[in-house]
């Protein structure tokens, strides 16, 4: 029993995250969007005014809660180490590409699971796209792809992520207390649908601890299967699927349809969008969720990636390239094609043009 529990702790953590997602939807979050990193970064980006799409703007307290929960967990378990400097510029850019892919599919790996668990069959395209992208990324990793080593940084640098999240918390509090016009909150559309701030914060905090402890990462899950035939990380996502599915059934949220709410049914776009997200995530060493936990551990490379994701969301919505339930715009297809070209270009450059990086990466 003890051995089973140790091998399947990640499954139990996943079940909890799945249930929390369904509960957040029940109490107001958009359908199948209990927690979605791509969607929530986009909403925060809109609330801050980085993009002007009036229907997707809200300072999602879940993200603040997840940051706090995983920050406290990192402190307790002594995993709070300021470090960075592994090609931050390239990471910022890959963060933007994560959002290009995610906003074509309309979700992150976790929302892919939530969408399936809510009965949205169009999420299957995305679910198949993640291993495709991860596989392409792994090809480069096995050939020597490397963005360089992160190094220890002086302690004061660790304050930067705290300043950002402290600032977001203050903005949220100011908005709630005084009803200020800034930060911008949507009056209609997905941005206007949300659970109460305290519930979002609290469940986000619990999820943050779970994410930090269990290192949940769906692109990493597929990566481990391809690399080592290891299913440990994937079990976490199986847990999310089971937890969300059962909780959706219990709360009356399960509705099997071809195309669910806040989604579109273009299979190719869903597949290629999540493929681009998976590829960029493997090139970064972690999916949109991992980048936030890395940030909370004072990994400045993760922080830079997070800023890149805010910028990417801003660009996609400002230019009207993000997909919507109406489908993918011509600009969206262009962004997707350009995203693949850039991601593959980065992968190729850091695999073949920097031969020295491979031998220098691990000194035997």
């Amino acid at each position: 029993m003890a051995v089973w529990l140790r091998n399947n702790l990640v499954l139990c953590g996943g079940v909890l995250v799945g249930i929390m997602g369904a509960v957040l939807v029940k109490f107001g979050n958009p359908a199948n969007m209990g927690i979605c990193f791509v969607c929530f970064y986009r909403d925060i980006s809109g609330a801050l005014g980085i993009h002007g799409n009036p229907v997707v703007r809200y300072l999602r307290p879940e993200i603040i809660g997840i940051f706090l929960g995983s920050f406290i967990s990192a402190l307790i378990f002594r995993e709070f180490n300021p470090r960075g400097g592994s090609s931050p510029g390239i990471r910022f850019f890959l963060g933007m590409l994560i959002m290009v892919g995610g906003l074509i599919f309309l979700g992150c790996p976790i929302r892919t699971i939530y969408r399936l668990a809510g009965g949205d069959l169009s999420a299957l395209g995305g679910l198949l796209g993640i291993p495709f992208g991860a596989y392409v990324g792994l090809f480069f990793l096995s050939k020597g792809y490397n963005l360089g080593k992160a190094r220890p940084l002086p302690g004061w640098v660790a304050v930067l992520p705290l300043v950002l999240f402290g600032g977001l918390t203050v903005l949220l509090a100011v908005k709630l207390w005084w009803q200020t016009p800034y930060p911008f909150f949507s009056l209609k559309g997905p941005g206007s649908q949300h659970a109460s701030v305290l519930l979002s914060l609290a469940l986000g905090g619990v999820a943050g601890v779970l994410f930090q402890r269990f290192r949940l990462c769906l692109s990493g899950g597929f990566r481990d299967v391809f690399l080592f035939n290891d299913y440990y990380l994937l079990k976490g996502f199986l847990g999310i699927l089971i937890g969300a599915f059962v909780a959706n059934l219990a709360l009356g949220l399960f509705r099997p349809v071809l195309v669910g709410p806040v989604a579109h049914g273009n299979f190719a776009a869903n597949f290629l969008g999540m493929g681009l997200l998976g590829l960029s995530a493997v090139l970064l060493g972690g999916c949109p969720l991992r980048q936030l936990t890395l940030t909370s551990e004072a990994n400045l490379d993760g922080f830079v990636t997070l800023l890149g994701m805010f910028a990417g969301a801003g660009l996609m919505h400002q230019l009207g390239w993000a997909a919507s339930p109406a489908g993918v715009s011509p600009g969206g297809w262009l962004a997707l094609a350009g995203g693949y070209a850039l991601a593959l270009g980065i992968a190729w450059t850091f695999t073949y043009s920097r031969v020295a990086a491979r031998s220098g990466a691990c000194n035997v």
Partner: protein, 70 residues
């Protein structure tokens, strides 16, 4: 203490475990790997456990040393 130490500190996930896998499959022999993140320790331990290779983990000033008996 093995002579060969693979310094994988600062590498993004999952490069440390990929380097260990390469070393195990290509050169073999007892060696050690130095890492600086908890996730690298976990990934490498999972990989070694799955291959039936025994290993020891010892925390140091400058990271965590994993000695591999392969």
């Amino acid at each position: 203490m093995s002579k060969n130490i693979l310094d994988c500190r600062g590498l993004s996930c999952p490069l440390p475990v990929i380097r260990v896998k390469e070393q195990v499959e290509q050169t073999g022999g007892p060696f050690a790997v130095l890492v600086d993140t908890g996730i690298a320790v976990e990934n490498i331990s999972r990989f070694l456990g799955q291959r039936g290779i025994s290993w020891t983990v010892s925390p140091r000033e400058d990271g965590t040393l994993i000695e591999i008996m392969a």
